[in-house]
Point group: C2
Chain length 389, copies 2
């Protein structure tokens, strides 16, 4: 009997597919039941984009708590005797203080100092790490580098699927489920735990600044069950299914890979200079290039802009930014913030035009709107994401 | 005037996007005008899937000539003093006879001997190559390896977008446009040429065995124009817009990456052993692993199957294959061939069950169908793709 039921569970794990090349996460069925209206391919998986509508999803995240299928944040697992040494090769960040149980934001650079990805790394053991990657096959980047360096590491994608619980009521919700310890789990730290026997890692991370957690489910067959447990416990907190929120992430100063950051931007240009340690002994990929860039100084910079015009509608255009009638850069992300009642944006502009208060123009096609360089983040949510600490 | 018009051309090149992360090829507008009904993301671009319907598209390809937007076959350009040396690291194939002007099918292997991708390489100069890759970010794999090996190579994605002209009438069509020399361009060779000043490389390649070419357009702004020139000239030959054809490619013995081939299959398992040269001096990635696999012998093998049941409808399920009531493998691709009037499939099965003529069963869910191991390819199209040579 036991053998049979374990077999049928295994069969239940088999991914059902619309295409061999786009996979469903363990939460996919749940997202369908809960009315997800559209998805985007992300790391060759379906990432939910909208449930009710963008605004409802936004207010649920800011006022209550939302549950996100972010199974597409694939994990790149690095193990083996050289795992730590290898991770040091991948990132300009100094890792000497990176503790077991901790999460580190680790921009990865290529030989030219460009950012290949900006994952969060989890240190599970002395020589066991997960990189929770943005949209790009970092598995191949890491495997290629390891093959070239001939290091003793094993690099693979484990059966791990993140689920995010985000929003100010996430602390109460998760405390109900797991106990009060979750309130004082430090920001960017994690703990291995379980719910009804479902194994996962609870990390105080997530791609919003509204507070919350990511649950790194360690056995895909329990995806639906985990989703329902959290949805059930979340009812008193008005939980809603949600998605990474375009508006909130810009308000909060979060950057999106492929938009604000690509491999043709370097860490100094996008405010990640503090993660670059050129003085360490480690010869990480891109060190020589970053030394040169640092010595010469950057020529452009990602800044926050307020665009003084009618509320923007959703967009995906790289609008040209002008100063004194000359093009000086481009918008990388822009949105109308219902909370701030302003259009806010990131723009990559010439360093000469990057000072706070600089007046610029944004060519929106039909009009050229006035814009001003403002401090980042647009909204300081420290009280929210550090709640209880 | 000249400056102005060249500027507006440059602006015309700016990609229009529905998402920052999924790009449109230079032929995208044309595919829309010509009625493409659905696309699939492939290398983060839109790959057309269906125009009229699968069967019409199939017969157009087999009887006449079809034009495919395969701009998603991204090129990985390798240049620099170590370019040739580096390419030898990437593939187990012996490259010593690889000539300028030639195309080489080069399976790329990882440290475990698994196939990371199976691109066609073009040798443009002594130290300049393009890899025309299947769906996977081989740019990252190659850059990672190069960073690790510290070789003097430059690796990038050039502004090159393949367009395929496939089908038995492609020879007449392209001869009308470019001259009779195209008829005798050797199979898997290429030549740099142009049409109305539009620069491209004409290669006698393509992902069908119906005969034809791939045009590697070298300036994206001319995509629409090139498309229309070919469509116009193709009218007498009943040209239709088309796509890589699921049915034809199985009939012809072509394998699809992520289905029949993945990084957990090795070259010996999928009939690519002839591309592995273990005796060469080069220490390519995966050599040690492949030596071991070769010495021990493979344990499973990709075979051709005929499945004796009702015509299959389109599917993307990995059906289990059984022998004597035991599971011995799985179907990787299957389709009903209207031409052969048979269900044909690839299956990865235990080596013991891989002999020609072996009787197997395929678990289709509702029924277990009888199946027989048959020779590959299912259809020998040598007279078609070698026409004129």
């Amino acid at each position: 009997m036991t053998e049979k039921s374990s077999k049928s569970k295994k069969q239940g794990k088999k991914p059902r597919l619309y295409s061999y090349r786009i996979r469903q996460s363990p939460y996919y069925d749940a997202t369908q039941r809960y009315g997800c209206k559209s998805y985007t391919p992300y790391n060759n998986m379906y990432l939910p984009l909208v449930y009710k509508d963008l605004l409802s999803d936004y207010w649920s995240l800011k006022n209550d708590v939302t549950l996100w299928d972010v199974g597409c944040e694939r994990q790149v697992e690095i193990t083996g005797p050289d795992a730590f040494k290898f991770l040091q090769q991948l990132t300009p960040r100094n890792l000497t203080k990176f503790k077991i149980g901790q999460c580190y934001y680790v921009p990865l650079t290529n030989a030219h100092g460009g950012i290949v990805n900006d994952p969060v790394a989890l240190r599970l053991e002395k020589n066991k790490f997960w990189l929770s990657v943005a949209d790009r096959e970092i598995l191949l980047w890491a495997k290629g580098l390891a093959a070239g360096l001939k290091m003793q590491v094993s690099i693979q994608e484990p059966d791990v699927s993140p689920l995010a619980v985000q929003g100010p009521k996430s602390f109460d919700l998760m405390a109900d489920l797991l106990g009060d310890w979750v309130r004082t789990l430090k920001y960017f730290w994690f703990k291995e735990t379980e719910l009804n026997g479902i194994p996962f890692i609870l990390a105080r991370t997530g791609w919003s600044k509204q507070g919350g957690y990511e649950l790194f489910l360690q056995d895909g067959q329990y995806g639906d069950q985990l989703w329902e447990i959290i949805m059930g416990a979340g009812k008193p907190y008005n939980i809603q299914p949600g998605t990474p929120c375009w508006i909130e992430r810009i308000e909060s100063g979060l950057l999106n890979y492929w938009e604000d950051v690509t491999d043709s931007t370097n860490p100094y240009e996008v405010g990640m200079g503090r993660f670059v340690d050129l003085d360490q002994d480690v010869d990480f990929v891109g060190k020589e290039a970053l030394k040169k860039i640092n010595a010469e100084g950057i020529k452009r910079k990602l800044v926050g802009l307020e665009i003084h015009t009618e509320p923007l509608t959703q967009t995906a255009e790289f609008w040209v930014v002008e100063c004194n009638h000359q093009p000086v850069g481009m918008i990388t992300s822009a949105v109308y913030s219902p909370d701030l009642k302003k259009n806010i944006a990131y723009a990559m502009v010439s360093i000469e035009c990057s000072d706070l208060g600089t007046d610029l123009k944004v060519d929106l096609g039909e009009v050229k709107a006035d814009a001003t360089v403002v401090p980042l983040p647009f909204v300081d949510n420290r009280d929210k994401y550090l709640a209880g600490l």
